[in-house]
Symmetry: C2
């Protein structure tokens, strides 16, 4: 259902000019992806027996917004590839990536305003709040690169804003379009937000310990770039003596063999049992998410579907 | 009234973090400017005896949007200065300019959604349409830099999108918040749009023939950069023989004395009577605007105020 809606949307862009503006928008939306955010919107709507037609606009808006943020984040991160294909600023140029990203953001609102009249205001208010938080999260992420010390709390705050709130908002938008109670909608938001945090922590773990074939990303990318993930932050905090020395040595080394560095840091993580701790932290947020789910007054079978989905996300590969 | 609303808005940004995101937003909004777009929104509201409190959100939104577009356009144009001060990307960096621009765009919607419930949908629909057109105009402007031939019609289309529609939209948003009839709102939009085109044509004329002290910009900036304005496009079309040769010579010259080039092109414009023609074209759009104003069913004294305002804009300096 969503694929159709997205295809129709992309087809409307095909008729627009100037093509230098609209082609990059079609391109990024056609690169694929899990479409997890619209799926969550539909599931949020279904949980409260909503009409799926009513959540279409929000589902499209949230996916378009996500793609807007990818286009602009890729500029800021200087990323050459997205889903194995050249990023928009690589394929075209920075100016086109800035402007077509802007147009995508406006397009998200253009879809959102197609919601049922009584849902428009709560949907857009939630969308605005979330969009600003995502911007704040991206800014914090950039700040952390230059900041010598980042605490795990700061890190958790950053990933909450940059990644998790949009998952919560997608679910809540579904709930809104099904006229759920405010209390239920809030718990569903918290469910999604905490799953999002757990999901990002898992991403950090998989970067180091995942199977690169299944995970689909370069293994140890975070280690190579000294990315201040939960794992590195905790390792820096806990390391002592020779472990601390080794950690600092590898972090400060300017020229190195990538796999040597990955292995060395991985060993340090093992020594400090960082993996186990990260998994514990991930599970803490996962459990918190389930607690919020249990608070929701809705059909237990449908709640079970959300739990199964969350489990599938969490066990994607270790 | 608007200054207060804007000051209050800027003050709310002061309390937000991360400051790297919110400071540039405060900065650009505090650089000054004529606040012409909010003024038009208030005038549109007043024309139909609206309550000025009802147009506050739209007036703020349109000014915030305008500043968003300045921040991103300045990145794309590589502009070092804005209103005599460093541009956001110069004072901070490109990434911060991209992201704080994005946040400004979201903030515009955050203000807009504060409008009266019954005005929200028509306001946001008009805002979305206009925002996309402004993006299209900016893309066309960038395209024209690389395009060898641009017609005056293409140029007029570009300035309509990039500059004029936002003036029309500001007025129409005022009309919407005063519950004007659709027909009156449409004519008011066309009034503003055509004034906007005339205003931009005047800007092109003033760049060449204006008094730099009064105009406040470097004289001949468009000439120096071979900017394809209405004047240059027409001159290229109409020039023959030695005039054509001279025009091409100066356009293709890589190294030159700026004031020599400005004077040479100015002389060519005089020879071809381009100034007179540009003024005629400007007046054509000005008259078109007045025609639309005359179609509006509203208090004649208030219509007169809009006419006086348009006249003041048009005679700002020759």
């Amino acid at each position: 259902m969503f694929s159709n809606a997205l295809e129709n949307f992309v087809a409307t862009l095909n008729q627009k000019t100037p093509k230098e503006l609209y082609e990059p928008m079609q391109y990024i939306l056609s690169l694929g992806g899990k479409r997890m955010r619209p799926l969550l919107a539909y599931m949020g709507n279904d949980l409260f027996n909503g009409n799926p037609a009513d959540v279409h606009p929000a589902a499209l808006a949230v996916e378009i917004f996500h793609n807007f943020s990818l286009v602009h984040d890729d500029i800021m991160d200087n990323a050459p590839l997205r889903r194995g294909k050249p990023t928009v600023h690589e394929k075209w140029n920075n100016n086109i990536a800035v402007l077509s990203g802007d147009a995508l953001l406006v397009k998200a609102y253009e879809e959102l305003i197609k919601a049922k009249d009584k849902h428009i205001k709560p949907l857009i208010e939630l969308f605005n709040k979330t969009a600003l938080e995502v911007c704040e999260g991206q800014q914090l992420d950039m700040n952390f690169e230059k900041q010598p010390e980042v605490s795990t709390n700061e890190y958790l705050h950053m990933i909450t804003l940059k990644t998790a709130v949009l998952l919560g908002a997608a679910l809540q938008m579904g709930a809104i379009t099904a006229n759920a109670s405010e209390n239920d909608a809030k718990h569903l938001y918290e469910f999604g937000k905490n799953i999002g945090i757990a999901f990002q922590l898992q991403d950090d773990i998989l970067d180091v310990f995942g199977n690169p074939q299944k995970f689909g990303k370069q293994q140890g990318g975070d280690i190579i770039s000294n990315k201040k993930t939960w794992l590195l932050i905790e390792a820096k905090k806990q390391a002592n003596g020779s472990t601390k020395e080794a950690l600092n040595y590898w972090i400060n080394l300017k020229e190195f063999n990538a796999s040597e560095k990955v292995n060395a840091i991985k060993n340090i993580y093992e020594t400090l049992q960082i993996r186990k701790q990260a998994e514990k932290e991930m599970n803490r947020f996962y459990e918190l998410a389930l607690q919020h789910l249990s608070e929701i007054k809705a059909n237990e079978n449908k709640k079970q579907e959300l739990k199964v989905f969350a489990q599938a996300l969490m066990n994607r590969e270790i």
